[in-house]
């Protein structure tokens, strides 16, 4: 345990407190606001969830969500695959189907331009391992966790594994998504307020 400094102060402690507490508050505020702005102005997309294996994956107090758009078939990719192992992000084009759910119609390792009634979603960075022939690509979008009060996770998991769970997300222009609403059999159970 080294003792407190013997060097002289360079900043008035009150100013130091203002600086540190202010910067830390700004960081926390940024985390909250960057999500709220996606919910406020993003485009609405309805996603279908798929069962998660192993079936019983309640981690502490969040439910793991997996979507049918989390696994992308190689045929959907345009613009080719990276030739060697590297960290990559992919972009997927989502289009609404007749049943109301959105699904992937195109994917690429390069940014896709938004066009017409489609929404472009960006994956989180992941390490891509090439294979021949190209294998399906599994990705995350940052909407895979939903924290619930203790004891309530079980119901959601059962609904998820019975494929009765749908998730309404908002996607901003940069392709980032946040969860707005979770519904079981079409009726909302969790609706997320902005703050």
């Amino acid at each position: 345990m080294s003792g407190e400094t013997q060097k002289s102060r360079w900043l008035n402690p009150l100013l130091a407190a203002l600086l540190v507490a202010g910067a830390q508050t700004a960081a926390l505020g940024y985390m909250i606001e960057s999500r709220a702005s996606i919910l406020r102005s993003g485009r609405e997309v309805l996603l279908k969830t798929v069962p998660v294996d192993p079936r019983d994956l309640l981690r502490g107090d969040y439910v793991i969500l997996s979507y049918d758009i989390s696994r992308i078939e190689p045929e959907l990719f345009t613009g080719g695959f990276p030739a060697e192992e590297k960290e990559a992000q992919i972009y997927v084009r989502l289009e609404q189907q007749l049943d109301g759910f959105w699904t992937v119609t195109q994917a690429a390792f390069q940014p896709l331009a938004a066009a017409g009634d489609t929404v472009v979603l960006r994956s989180l960075p992941f390490v891509y391992y090439p294979s021949t022939p190209p294998a399906p690509v599994n990705v995350e979008y940052g909407i895979e966790r939903f924290y619930v009060p203790e004891g309530e996770g079980r119901t959601l998991e059962e609904a998820r594994n019975a494929e009765a769970l749908s998730v309404d997300v908002r996607v901003d222009a940069g392709g980032k998504a946040q969860i707005r609403e979770i519904a079981v059999n079409g009726s909302p159970v969790y609706e997320e307020p902005l703050y």
Binding site: E4, Q6, R9, P13, A21, A27, L28, F146, Y195
Partner: protein, 369 residues
């Protein structure tokens, strides 16, 4: 503890008439009066701060459902502001120990806030990014308050970040900037140590770099990388410790750390080379080089630097036992291995006694001049 040893030595010198009692008492009084000496009360304070920090984090983990979401955010931000201003007020009142404790809890509240917000708003982002943000908050606090305790906390958080990067990437190679962010944090911690005079916290940074290099090697072992570690460690060690090296005075000024850590790096490299070596001849040649390096370390820096000397002994003994096991042990069986080990350890003991005696004589002639 150093204080107790000092007192015992003084007593011995007073009994032999080498030191007047009044001088000894004055020296002890001066030592006790120093700001940085160990005080039980201060240590307990920081421990209390750590316990309170843990309670904040646990409160967050328990999900805290009774309060509405926004009220929880306001609560944690109020905690951050309250604790930092409490620290400022305590620092102005000269209560530096209490101020340091308040800063530690304040920083923990910030970390708790990051976790709380991630949980409440379902942000399933990168855990390593969250750890990095926490480190940045602690480092800012260390700079703004020029606090050595916060520098130590930032050093600990740099380790936490490294651990998160490893577990998040399942111990595989992470992305390029992640890879380089670890030594970058180590450099930041060293700068903080210099700025806040945090002394011992620098070891957190040096050990972080060594751990990072070991991880790089384990992740993608190659002969070139092992050789590079050995060569750069050896070059740095010679630059820091070889008499006549222009960098030696600078390194000596920083204490025993530069020589010790460069020596440790060189030995890490030779351990990796030993792992790369295949076939009896290469094994023995690499082993002989490792033994030579261990002896070189003891010969060059062992007299002034106890840490280098002991690391040298340990490396020398470990390498000899390894060689004995690899070459003779397999031929002679278990009992033969113990026989060889016994002889080898006896040989090392004889060598160590010779070296220690030689160094004691060298120090005596130096002192009498």
């Amino acid at each position: 503890m150093y204080r107790a040893r000092l007192e015992r030595d003084f007593k011995g010198w007073i009994d032999k008439g080498l030191l007047p009692e009044s001088a000894a008492r004055a020296m002890l009084a001066e030592y006790d009066g120093r700001e940085s000496t160990f005080r039980a009360g201060r240590v307990l304070l920081v421990l209390a701060a750590l316990l309170l920090s843990a309670s904040i984090l646990l409160l967050v983990a328990a999900n805290w459902e009774a309060l509405p979401r926004l009220a929880r955010v306001v609560g944690i931000i109020a905690l951050v502001w309250g604790l930092h201003f409490a620290a400022a007020w305590l620092a102005r009142a000269g209560r530096s120990g209490l101020a340091a404790s308040a800063l530690v809890i304040g920083s923990a509240s910030f970390g708790g806030g990051i976790a709380l917000i991630g949980q409440m708003y379902h942000l399933s982002g990168d855990a390593a990014d969250a750890a990095l943000l926490w480190f940045a908050g602690a480092a800012l606090s260390a700079v703004a308050f020029r606090s050595a305790t916060m520098t130590a906390a930032a050093g600990g958080l740099a380790w936490f970040y490294f651990g998160t990067v490893l577990t998040e990437s399942n111990f595989n190679l992470a992305s390029d900037w992640r890879l380089w962010s670890v030594p970058a944090l180590a450099i930041l911690v060293v700068l903080l140590v210099r700025f806040t005079d945090a002394g011992r916290a620098r070891h957190l940074a040096y050990l972080l770099v060594l751990a990072w290099l070991s991880w790089l090697y384990v992740d993608s072992p190659s002969l070139a990388f092992a050789g590079g570690l050995a060569a750069s460690g050896l070059a740095a060690f010679l630059a820091a410790a070889m008499p006549g090296s222009p960098l030696r005075p600078l390194a000596m000024e920083a204490g025993s750390a530069p020589a010790f850590y460069s020596f440790a790096l060189a030995l890490l490299g030779f351990a990796a080379l030993q792992y790369e070596a295949v076939g009896l001849t290469t094994e023995i040649v690499t082993g002989a080089c490792t033994l030579l390096v261990a002896l070189l370390g003891i010969a060059v820096a062992g007299a002034q630097n106890g840490a280098v000397r002991y690391l040298g002994y340990v490396a020398f003994a470990g390498e000899l036992l390894y060689l004995a096991f690899e070459t003779l042990g397999s031929m002679l069986g278990t009992s033969g291995f113990f026989l060889i080990s016994g002889l080898v350890v006896a040989g090392i003991a004889w060598l160590v006694i010779r070296i220690e005696g030689h160094m004691a004589r060298a120090r005596r002639t130096e002192a009498s001049q």
